[in-house]
């Protein structure tokens, strides 16, 4: 890959750009996009691809919800296999193509180097390769849908996936395998960038917390994802070549697959939620105009989550037949991971104290996050406790719980982050009134969809059911109504953003009053991010940023909020 000469790279040698030239208009043509080495353009391409996949997965979700309007098969399909395809593809698309790459690949790519005052990530060509691998993986998953579907559930449990299923398992699994490499390379790039490219004066404890969370995420990406790759290869070998690894008829062990799978996929839950937590730290601080409360506790808790996240995979398997001793140990370890999440929530709430709180749309998403993550996190306690999990495992309670965390928290943080950085990315302000209405619609629709599922679950409705007992119909109908409210709100929210691309650039450099470095460059940023040596500010010195009514933008006060080179936390490692 590195031996290829990339046309876009010539731009890097170009000495100066003219006035009004930014990363969006400095080069034209599709090659300048598809072969670009600019982290900002790569981030934008990821955003377009992920938004598309998000709506693809969302349509699957709406079809599932519409189907569940009645307890008998219908109205969407009377065919169990088609229904199984719908929920599998919804899960696989949302997990592998949307949530895992969402915040790191879009927002991380776009703002991480600028937050560090750097020109690009450490390995721009590897970064481009990550994106190309993502596209290859996407195409393979879509091919699997078109050539035979996928009906194994996103978890690919054996021996159903390796023996019984007649869908395109191998194609889909190889797609997920390739997506894994995309994720690993992105993580590697971010770790090196954060280690080697911090500016003078920015010690680890002077970084924006978003970078801490991206760093913790990247650690998980490079340590856990290879295990997924190996597991999926073993599954392919069993299915295609008949090697007995997981199928007991060939001498394999199906529970082994579950261990392998969750050894990746539980840490992957933190790949999904940690970046969201990073976004929330930035949003709460900026929109309260307050220094984040308890910086060190939040930073350390990210690392604690990354470490503990590796030790709890067995809690997906309390009823699987694993031994009682192992089950008890995993339950105890599971509770350890709840503590750092609780710490973060308390610190965010404390940041609001005595703030100057604005309720612009990104902040509404951040406050939604606190509410939804509160429910998502607390309902995890019921599933971590062994006696209650015996009843709740594999019911709609679990479905509701992980949607509160994955969708209500991770994706809501992503959408909040997209709104927050949108003016920076494209230099255009969106209609904040519509955006706020959509944020409320997302919040209401989300709760309407998923709260009734907790009740369906405790009442005993198993997940992945195409037809179900009539007594659950009430819950399912509330849920379906909510899903459409949610779907429409999300569609309008994204339309509201993308429709700004038709108008003239009108965004000021710092519309919200953020103190991190990306708000000191123009909107959209210049091709090289900084035209001259950047001034490095303290990311949480919000009092150094003041409103300028003439430019309708926030600006740093002269010589205020600078990161001193000495002092606590400024040490370089």
């Amino acid at each position: 890959m590195t031996s290829i000469t990339v046309p876009g790279s010539t731009a890097i040698e170009r000495p100066e750009h003219g006035r009004g030239e930014d990363y969006l208009n400095c080069d034209k043509g599709w090659r300048s996009w598809l072969l670009t080495l600019d982290h900002k353009r790569i981030g934008v391409m990821y955003m377009i691809a992920i938004t598309f996949n998000f709506f693809l997965g969302g349509i699957m979700a709406l079809l599932v919800r519409a189907e569940l309007w009645t307890h008998a098969p219908g109205p969407i399909t009377t065919d169990g296999v088609i229904y199984n395809n719908l929920f599998t593809l919804h899960g696989a698309i949302m997990v592998f193509l949307v949530i895992i790459p969402s915040i790191p690949a879009v927002l991380g790519n776009f703002v991480l180097p600028i937050m560090l005052g750097a020109k690009d990530v450490a390995f721009p060509r590897v970064n481009l390769m990550s994106f190309h691998l993502y596209m290859v993986g996407t195409i393979m998953l879509v091919m699997a849908i078109l050539t035979g579907g996928l009906d194994t559930g996103w978890t690919f449990y054996t021996p159903y996936s390796s023996v019984l299923s007649s869908s395109s398992v191998v194609m889909a699994v190889m797609g997920a395998f390739i997506l894994g490499f995309s994720s690993i390379f992105t993580g590697l790039n971010f770790i090196v960038t954060i280690h080697k490219m911090r500016p003078k004066g920015m010690g680890y404890f002077r970084m924006p917390l978003f970078l801490w969370s991206i760093y913790a995420t990247a650690l998980i990406q490079i340590l856990a994802t290879p295990v997924l790759g190996i597991t999926l290869l073993l599954l392919t070998v069993e299915r295609a070549l008949g090697f007995g690894i997981f199928d007991p008829k060939l001498g394999g062990d199906p529970v082994l697959f579950q261990h392998f799978f969750w050894f990746y996929s539980h840490p992957a839950v933190y790949i999904m939620i940690l970046p969201g937590m990073g976004v929330i730290s930035e949003l709460i601080s900026t929109f309260s105009r307050r220094h984040i409360f308890g910086y060190r506790f939040i930073a350390y808790s990210s690392i604690m989550i990354a470490v503990f996240g590796f030790l709890v995979w067995g809690h997906h398997m309390f009823t699987s037949g694993q031994s009682e001793l192992v089950t008890a140990i995993f339950s105890a370890l599971t509770f350890s991971v709840s503590i750092p999440s609780a710490i973060k929530v308390f610190n965010w709430v404390a940041t609001l104290y005595k703030g100057s709180i604005s309720l612009a749309s990104p902040m509404l998403y951040a406050l939604s996050f606190l509410f939804l993550f509160g429910i998502g996190g607390l309902t995890g306690l019921f599933l971590g406790a062994l006696a209650t999990d015996m009843h709740l495992h594999d019911t709609y309670f679990v479905v509701a719980h992980f949607h509160y965390v994955m969708m209500g928290s991770a994706l809501v943080a992503f959408i909040g982050g997209i709104h927050y950085w949108w003016p920076k990315m494209f230099g255009r302000m969106f209609n904040d009134r519509i955006a706020r209405l959509c944020a409320i619609g997302v919040f209401v629709g989300f709760n309407l969809t998923f709260f009734p599922q907790f009740l369906a679950g405790t009442q005993g409705m198993p997940r992945r059911y195409h037809e179900y007992k009539p007594e659950f119909e009430g819950y399912m109908r509330w849920s379906t109504i909510g899903a459409f409210v949610l779907g429409i709100s999300l569609f309008v929210a994204f339309y509201n953003l993308f429709s700004t691309l038709r108008k003239e650039k009108d965004a000021p450099d710092n519309p919200w009053g953020g103190a991190t470095l990306e708000w000191t460059v123009s909107s959209p940023p210049p091709h090289h991010n900084f035209d001259s040596e950047p001034t490095i500010y303290d990311p949480y010195a919000l009092d150094a940023v003041v409103w300028n009514p003439e430019t309708r933008s926030f600006e740093h006060k002269k010589d205020a909020g600078l990161l001193e080179e000495s002092g606590e936390g400024a040490e370089h490692a």
Binding site: N347, A387, M390, H391
Partner: protein, 359 residues
């Protein structure tokens, strides 16, 4: 059609959160659930309450409001809100662990019932040899389930018992229960197992001792081979999910039994021929031996079918092909529990063998 309000659930004796308790696990699980619930409600109200209060009290009143300066950290406070939740989750772990150990350790004198799962039917085999596709249990007696799967993962779930455990191919897993309330309860498959996962349901029926004994006797009665074969087809034989009787295709399933003995078929291996009794018998016992072209080789091997069962199935399939189906039993789900499901005599030993094998 039920309304939007889940009144039908409440009418069955359950609460807002749980269905009625019908086993000795019920009180313990529900108590722990409610302990965690009220703890969670307390913290949730605290977090969201403070958040709402701060947002209202400290809302920004003008665009150029200067950034306020407040505390940036408070070690004592932060340590407090680390330590208190740690202690509380310690309690939650302990209560959950205690309840779990009660659920995992069966009493020594529990009656053992074999639970056999295959796509997409449950079969229960009693110590006397009786076989049933409905789980009949006697009230206030201890039962241990010795569970095995013929093909993929399944999971036996009885919400009213608060009991769930996976059924894993290639090994035995166990669970136990003491039913405490008479009644009829749902038994679900909770682990995704393919096409008809959501139809892999049956009932568990808790009976008084007399009624239970009478039911075991009834299970041992067989009836004519063709009628018995039809019951197997509908019930624990599991044929119905994939093979129609009227010639219609089942998506993801196998060929219809209509005209099976009349039309030529091409199988791989095996070539082209007309079906006969021996072909049908082989296809039941070794499903992958001769697979009809155009169908995936996905039929599971039989689980818990005796020689008597196979004979009856072959006779039924021939009858269905040549004459047409006999009266069905499972089309009316309400009737399924009453007429003892598929019934059947496993001719190995015990009562079932004595009574069923006499034909």
């Amino acid at each position: 059609m039920s309304s939007i309000l889940p009144a039908s659930v409440l009418a069955q004796g359950g609460g807002v959160w749980f269905p009625a308790q019908a086993s000795s696990f019920g009180p313990e699980v529900d108590w722990i659930f409610h302990f965690i619930l009220w703890l969670s409600v307390f913290f949730f109200v605290l977090i969201v309450g403070l958040m709402t209060y701060f947002v209202i009290k400290y809302r920004r009143r003008s665009e150029d409001e200067p950034a306020p300066v407040g505390p940036t950290h408070n070690q004592k406070l932060e340590v407090t809100w680390t330590v208190i939740p740690t202690i509380l989750v310690g309690f939650i772990f302990w209560f959950g662990f205690e309840g779990y150990m009660d659920m995992r350790v069966a009493p020594r004198d529990a009656t053992q019932i074999q639970v056999k799962a295959k796509t997409w039917v449950w079969t229960f085999v009693y110590p006397g040899g009786q076989v049933s596709d409905v789980l009949y249990l006697q009230k206030d007696k201890d039962y241990q389930f010795i569970m095995s799967s013929a093909d993929v993962l399944h999971s036996m779930y009885v919400p009213a018992f608060r009991l769930k455990y996976d059924v894993v191919p290639g090994r035995y897993t166990t669970a136990w229960v003491r039913p405490t309330e008479l009644g009829e309860y749902n038994l679900f498959c909770a682990e995704y197992c393919g096409k008809d996962h959501s139809r892999m349901n049956t009932k568990t029926v808790v009976l008084e001792p007399d009624a239970f004994e009478a039911q075991l006797k009834k299970l041992a009665e067989v009836g004519s081979p063709i009628e018995y074969g039809r019951r197997l087809y509908d019930g624990r034989g599991g044929c119905k999910a994939c093979h129609s009787l009227d010639g219609s295709a089942v998506s993801g399933g196998g060929p219809s039994f209509k005209d099976l003995y009349v039309r030529e078929r091409t199988t791989n291996p095996g070539g082209t021929f007309k079906a006969d009794d021996n072909y049908v018998r082989e296809s039941i016992l070794k499903p992958q031996a001769k697979v009809v072209e155009g169908y995936p080789p996905v039929m599971p091997a039989p689980a818990g079918l005796s020689d008597t069962d196979v004979d009856a199935l072959v006779q039924f399939v021939r009858h269905a092909s040549e004459v047409g189906p006999v009266a069905g039993t499972a089309d009316d789900p309400a009737a399924k529990g009453d007429q003892g499901g598929g019934g059947g005599g496993d001719a190995k030993d015990g009562q079932g063998g004595q009574e069923g094998g006499g034909r």
